[in-house]
């Protein structure tokens, strides 16, 4: 923590960056912090509650943040996947940002949790994490902690849904998506949702109905999942942001699993590895095509 604070203080006082985007204590657990002076760097914290994916603040849609100067961003290994995605798609250039990587031993699902990390409270994405130490960063802080506890919670929920009949699955998702109010919080917190104008808000032609009825909600979730195929960094922020508690990371998890099984691709921290849906192999499986 001290190392992170000192580094941030140095970056700010030397004028390398005008803001350090990290984590601080908030009224309800840890939250994103915007530190603009060396004196404030003592507010920076990093622990299991540092759930949020701060890469979202680099998105070109946050033009107002860019106007306030060059940022340094604190990123965990999983967040580095989103940064790599933004770099890969030329949404940001490497010089726009200073990356402070933190070695991470896992985070909770909920930034308001406390106590030791356990199978019950650990975030789904931490299981089998291969990025406890993010690469492609400018600075790296912290000691390498031990591996986070594993959970098969999401995997078994996905398997449970796969085991259902199509009608049961349709009913299951209908009962979940019925609560969708189309606030699009899932999109706004998504670091990979970079479109200036989302397809689901276009009205001429209108491809995705914008009303929060089930048909519109289903079309939107299909769209979001497919537009993220091979791009999703699996940060889980869509599900965490949903005020209606819809288990969106089951959809994203399923799509990521399909991408991994079919194209042998897992989102990583290297921006030079091409995205699988922007790429192909002559010998790709086509068992579903007549």
């Amino acid at each position: 923590m001290r190392e992170l604070q000192e580094l941030s203080s140095k970056l700010l006082s030397e004028g390398d960056v005008s803001v350090v985007i990290g984590y601080e204590e908030g009224p309800r657990g840890v939250r994103p912090a915007f530190i603009r002076t060396p004196e404030e760097t003592n507010r920076l914290v990093f622990d299991h509650r540092a759930v949020q994916n701060l890469a979202v603040y680099l998105s070109p849609r946050r033009a107002h943040l860019r106007k306030r100067g060059r940022p340094a961003v604190v990123i965990k290994g999983c967040d580095a996947r989103a940064v790599a995605g933004l770099l890969r798609e030329s949404q940001i250039s490497r010089d726009d940002v200073v990356l402070i990587g933190v070695r991470c031993g896992g985070v909770y699902r909920d930034p308001e949790s406390n106590g030791p990390l356990s199978e019950e409270n650990v975030a789904d994405r931490c299981t089998g994490c291969d990025l406890r130490e993010p690469g492609h960063v400018d600075h790296l802080v912290g000691e390498l902690p031990s591996e986070p506890p594993a959970t098969d919670r999401r995997k078994s929920r996905i398997a449970g849904i796969e085991a259902m009949s199509p009608e049961e699955r349709f009913d299951f998702w209908s009962s979940e998506l019925e609560r969708c109010i189309r606030c699009h919080a899932c999109r706004e917190v998504c670091p990979m949702c970079v479109c200036e104008r989302c397809v689901c808000e276009k009205t001429d032609p209108s491809w995705v109905e914008s009303s929060p009825h089930l048909r519109g909600a289903l079309a939107w979730q299909i769209t979001h999942a497919l537009h993220l195929a091979g791009r999703c960094s699996d940060c889980g922020e869509c599900e965490r942001a949903c005020p209606a508690g819809i288990p969106l990371s089951l959809i994203k998890g399923k799509v990521n699993q399909v991408v991994e099984d079919r194209f042998d691709y897992r989102a990583g921290d290297d921006p030079d590895v091409p995205s699988p849906l922007g790429d192909f192999r002559l010998e790709d499986d086509q068992e579903f095509i007549k």
Binding site: G26, P27, R28, G29, V30, R31, P32, A33, F34, Q52, V56, Y57, A63, H64, L65, R68, D110, P111, E120, R179, I181, R182, C183, H184, A185, R187, E188, V189, E201, T203, S206, E209, S210, S211, P212, H213, G216, E237, R240, A241, C242, P243, A244, G245
Partner: protein
Amino acid sequence: MKPEKLYLTEAGLAKLTHDLREAGARVIAPVLATESSSNPVADYREIEDAGRIALGGPLPRLSLKEFFLPPTEALLSWRQVKGDISLDQPSGDYPRTVVVGAFPCDAAALPVLDKVMGWDYRDDPWFGRRKATTIISRACAVKDSSCFCPAVGLSPDSLKGADILLVPVDDSGNNHLVEVLTPAGEELVEAHRDVFESPPDEGKADELRKAALDRASENLDIEPGAIKSWLESNFEHDVWADIADRCHGCGACASVCPTCHCFDIIDEPEGIDRGTRRRNWDTCQASLFTLHGSGHNPRPEQSARYRQRVMHKFAIYPKRFEEILCTGCGRCSRACAAGMDLPEVLRTLDQLASSSEKQTEASSTGGVG
């Protein structure tokens, strides 16, 4: 009118629920949405028996608003056959509804919204549903550190918007003192007299009410009037950029808010010859909300949009309708993925207001000297 006081036991509530449904009413109550005990969540839903009511459970994820201003509703549908266009409008009949166990912060929002809904034109669907609904509130025991109803002039046992108030009289929370507050409440009690008992056993009702008010009052202490004046004279202020830095502009706060009521009207065609005009929830937190056809956006940045939300609640609405557009339920803080916190923002504004007041005093004293 001094409220009539009665008594309702757990069995009485069960019978009331049953009898209301027998009489053809839809009964809405907070119910648990998940079985998980570690992090229980609730929603207001139609119930079939009182056993499902989560009395004293968590504050439902969405407020009662969704039953009066649904997330989406059809205003009309059209159909064209050759040159003839026919329109179909909803009947305007709304189901008789009784809300049992409404949280006072949700009930209080309804009369606040009546003002805007009946202002420049009368919103028939809103008032149709209002008229068809009787609200039985239940005094709240205060959920957590994000609750701040006393700071906006309400209380955990607020009568505002309620036709009947239930106050728990013991620690079980299942037996209630009943205060009948409005003619609609009287009508309901009259129709179901047999489930209520009299005279009431007031038990620990007063003690529990006071304890809840004390707890909620601790969370936030502000002067809304001073904040209003400060907002009105400090439209351009650096504080908004700092406050809104972390805000995603996702609008989850507006979705869960009992008082946010902005909507969008959109025509949804089904092919070329028919379609539906719908009213859907919208939010000032979305950049599209104010985007003009010309491409100009008067609120181009999140700081301006967040300022709008606070301004509307604490300055614009109070100025026009003499009501704060906030009931202190704290849902916005709980729903925020980025840790935006309205009580914290209000505290900041309150400090700015009081320090600018002091400055004004100092300069006017200086002027005299």
